[in-house]
């Protein structure tokens, strides 16, 4: 399975263990590429580009896959693979992580770089943001050093036009010596051209003559001295200049490739791999000595020289190709930015947006939720009748209809409507490009907490799913800060927990108020516990930075992308299919067995009491201590696999064996909970517990996979659990002391 090998190699760098121990033990990319192509793919295509240039959109458009896209840099953490067919040929497409450079200052850059160099793709597509050509050319010029089969995808030309910029693709193509295809990937414009061009470059119908950036005479002299030695060892490589530069900079990986037969085998492309000879010891020694003497003569780091040479070229090319045609709408962007980051309204706007999303969700979900419940419980009655008509035994009807089915019905009617409203709203915010502004506003807290600025992004991912949030922590290069982000991700309420929060807020907290006020109060309650989760993230991060994971916040640059109009089809797809269906699916998959289990627990009696009652009795004192009760704690234990089923489990626990009528309205739900001693304190504590408690089984498993450490996996559960206990205990006792409940 060469594909597996590729992936392993990639993932070993991406995840690795927490020390990011990078291992490349004699992996022969070329060999793997060879096998891959024998498997039925004719060509190998790589997508490269700066973060947030629409690379994932291009990838999705080419392959028909649906990779998550969002207007923030650094979302794609795992490499995506896909394929497409064009005129009878099959193309394998690899989406590399977005990078600003290939000079290997970070793990993702090293991955992209190694892949471009060693897998020898037939075509490298560099996706370029037309609004910032100069900066993007930095990467393009580096790619042109490594590969000569390059297609530049000049994306976001519409955005450039709105900014009053016109990019001359023809001129750019002349200057770079490779084809340039203007596209608007999210509107599907120019993609046919892109595919055609890829095909023509792959089949060598178009021959390229890539531009190589001009180096200063000083560097040029150095290179002239060393290149012959490299050639002796590695053979006649097209990118010998680049490899020499890397060696002069002390790039360990390239040196390693030189010492093994890896580079030499690249020189012999087209021949049998086994032909490539291992370089002789003497030649290698010569070369390394040469490099030593030469590098000792350079004053500054070579990196400085190389980067300024590249940017000098980029400036020249950009000034030739980009014309400012009119005053731009940039001013509007700038105005919005000044408002959303302003000292007085920046934070109020953030909180208001959060509240608005919750409020619309709560208001809007009310009626559909009830309709859905009515429909599904009507169906339950019909199912019951059907079972009786068949003469099925009563325990079977109880188990399947009142256990499994009712569990399912609850999950669907309670969770579906809020999700259908909440996720699109959140996706729109994400698409607009507002999230990086939040990161900008709250960065100081991360600095204070000794955490990495990129943690905002991992937290936002956690809003959707904590497991995804934990994986996105790979974006953080410092192991210490990455661990902090992993350990605290759980404090961001995920998809599975929103329904619990929203339901508790609507059913319990807001019913104490008049109807007009009630949804506002509910909104306020949900927003408050969410903010508490965020505050807890900072507090726990800060504590970790001062105790177990001592250290300071490391260097952080945040790129703030231009605002983009959300694409509605994509918003609907991402939020409904990608998020809603996935969450619902997981809930249903776990709710059915949980429903069955609960029915059994509720119906198997030992000494006159059900198993559930026994278990709840044992947990009762602990529950009461923190403002909850035995059933809630039991529900939390049963719901370890998926937080989605907390409320259904509680309901089934409270209803017990009694054949209670179906719960059609929130009023009845309120009555059920109240009958079991629920007060406003219980509701508040339940919301707090929901936000703070341990991560679900999937997330815990992900943490284990990401850290490969039992210690940190256990701590990732223990820390939030103790926080949850402390907070709930405190809040319950304070409120009781104040005479609530």
């Amino acid at each position: 399975m060469p594909q597996r090998l590729w992936l392993n190699c990639y993932l070993s760098v991406q995840s690795g263990d927490i020390n990011l121990g990078i291992k490349f033990e004699g992996q022969n990319y070329y060999q793997e590429r060879h096998e891959e192509l024998e498997k039925g793919h004719d060509y190998l295509v790589c997508l490269s580009g700066n973060p947030n240039t629409g690379k994932s959109t291009v990838f999705n458009a080419l392959t028909g896959l649906r990779q998550h896209v969002g207007n923030w840099p650094g979302k794609t953490v795992a490499r995506a693979e896909g394929s497409f067919k064009y005129e009878g040929k099959r193309y394998k497409v690899i989406d590399l992580p977005g990078t600003y450079s290939l000079l290997a200052t970070a793990t993702d850059e090293e991955i992209a770089r190694n892949f471009l160099l060693f897998s020898h793709p037939d075509v490298v597509v560099v996706v370029v943001d037309s609004t910032a050509l100069e900066r993007n050319l930095n990467l393009v010029l580096q790619v042109l050093e490594i590969s000569n089969r390059v297609v530049v995808c000049l994306n976001l030309v519409d955005e450039a036009a709105r900014k009053g910029l016109k990019v001359d693709a023809k001129q750019l193509s002349l200057d770079l010596g490779v084809p340039v295809v203007p596209t608007v990937a999210n509107a599907g414009k120019g993609l046919n051209d892109l595919v055609k061009t890829i095909a023509e470059v792959a089949s060598a119908k178009i021959t390229t003559s890539p531009h190589h950036f001009a180096v200063t005479t000083e560097i040029s002299k150095l290179l002239d001295e060393v290149v012959p030695y490299v050639e002796k060892v590695a053979g006649d490589l097209p990118n010998i200049r680049w490899i020499t530069m890397r060696l002069l900079e002390g790039d360990k990986r390239i040196q390693q490739a030189l010492e093994s037969e890896e580079l030499a085998s690249l020189a012999g492309l087209g021949q049998d791999v086994s032909v490539a000879k291992k370089p002789s010891e003497a030649e290698l020694k010569d070369l390394l000595e040469r490099i030593q003497t030469v590098t000792s003569t350079i004053r500054k780091s070579l990196h400085d020289y190389v980067v300024s040479s590249i940017y000098a070229d980029a400036e020249t090319i950009a000034s030739k190709c980009v014309t400012k045609v009119k005053a731009s709408k940039n001013d509007l962007d700038a105005k919005i930015d000044r408002i959303v980051t302003s000292r007085f309204v920046g934070f109020p706007i953030m909180i208001a947006l959060l509240m608005a999303i919750f409020w619309i969700t709560i208001e809007g979900a009310n009626i559909p939720s009830q309709l859905l419940a009515e429909g599904l419980f009507w169906l339950e009655n019909q199912l019951s009748l059907l079972f009786r008509w068949f003469g099925a035994p009563q325990w079977l009807e109880g188990l399947l209809v009142h256990g499994t089915y009712r569990g399912l019905a609850w999950v669907v009617s309670v969770m579906l409507p809020p999700m259908v409203i909440f996720f699109p709203l959140f996706t729109i915010l994400e698409d607009l490009g507002y999230l990086p502004r939040i990161a900008f506003n709250i960065d100081r807290f991360f600095k204070w907490a000794g955490a990495h600025g990129k943690q905002t992004i991992t937290m936002c991912m956690g809003f959707g799913c904590n497991a995804a949030g934990v994986i996105s922590c790979r974006n953080i290069n410092s192991p210490r800060e990455r661990l902090i982000a992993i350990l605290t991700n759980n404090f961001m309420p995920c998809n599975g927990r929103w329904p619990t929060l929203i339901l508790m807020a609507t059913v319990f907290i807001s019913t104490a108020f008049t109807p007009t006020l009630s949804s506002l109060i509910a909104t306020f309650a949900v927003a408050t516990v969410t903010l508490l989760g965020i505050v807890m993230t900072f507090v726990v991060s800060a504590l970790l930075s001062r105790t177990l994971l001592k250290g300071e916040s490391s260097f952080f640059v945040l790129e703030m992308p231009s605002y983009r109009r959300p694409q509605f089809s994509r918003v609907l797809y991402t939020s409904l299919i990608d998020r809603t269906i996935k969450v619902l699916y997981r809930a249903v998959v776990w709710a059915a067995p949980a429903g069955t289990l609960i029915w059994i627990l509720g119906n198997v009696n030992i000494s006159g009491e059900s198993l559930m009652a026994h278990a709840a009795d044992v947990l009762q004192p602990i529950g009461l201590l923190i403002g909850l009760d035995g059933i809630i704690l039991l529900a939390y234990i049963i719901a370890i696999p998926a937080n989605e089923i907390i409320i259904p489990t509680m309901i089934m626990g409270y209803m017990g064996t009694s054949m209670m009528t179906e719960l059609e309205s929130t009023a009845e739900l309120h009555a059920l909970f109240a009958a079991h001693g629920f007060t406003i304190i219980t509701a508040i504590c339940l919301m707090l517990f929901s936000v703070l408690h341990y991560p679900c089984a999937t997330t815990t498993h992900t943490i284990w996979k990401e850290t490969k450490s039992a210690k940190w996996t256990i701590l990732s559960n223990l820390i939030p659990l103790s926080v949850a206990f402390l907070v709930c205990f405190g809040v319950a006792h304070i409120l009781q002391g104040l005479g609530f409940g």
Binding site: A132, F440, I442, D443, K447, F555
Partner: protein
């Protein structure tokens, strides 16, 4: 020539820039990985920048660098020496 001399008076760091002020980078007083990152993002000696935004909490500040908006924490920005460009000398 006159602008040359008048410019040389103001040596400041990126952190000192007020919102709306423009400057040209003179040197980066950082080494290692941080230096490489900044260079890769296009922030190198000779680059013109403009301060755009300030976080409500005072840090970071956002700058226009080659048509992109980059936010830097003040402690990092204070390691980038710049010369102020008066409004008139801006191209």
């Amino acid at each position: 020539m006159e602008t040359q001399t008048s410019r040389n008076i103001d040596y400041e760091t990126l952190a000192d820039l007020k919102i709306g002020q423009r400057a040209r980078v003179i040197s980066l007083l950082v080494e290692g990985l941080t230096r490489r990152r900044l260079l890769d993002l296009g922030l190198l000696p000779g680059t013109e920048v403009k301060a755009l935004l300030k976080s409500p909490l005072g840090t970071p500040k956002a700058y226009d660098v080659r048509g992109t908006i980059l936010a830097l924490r003040l402690e990092d920005a204070s390691k980038i020496v710049v010369e102020l460009l008066s409004q008139r000398t801006v191209r």
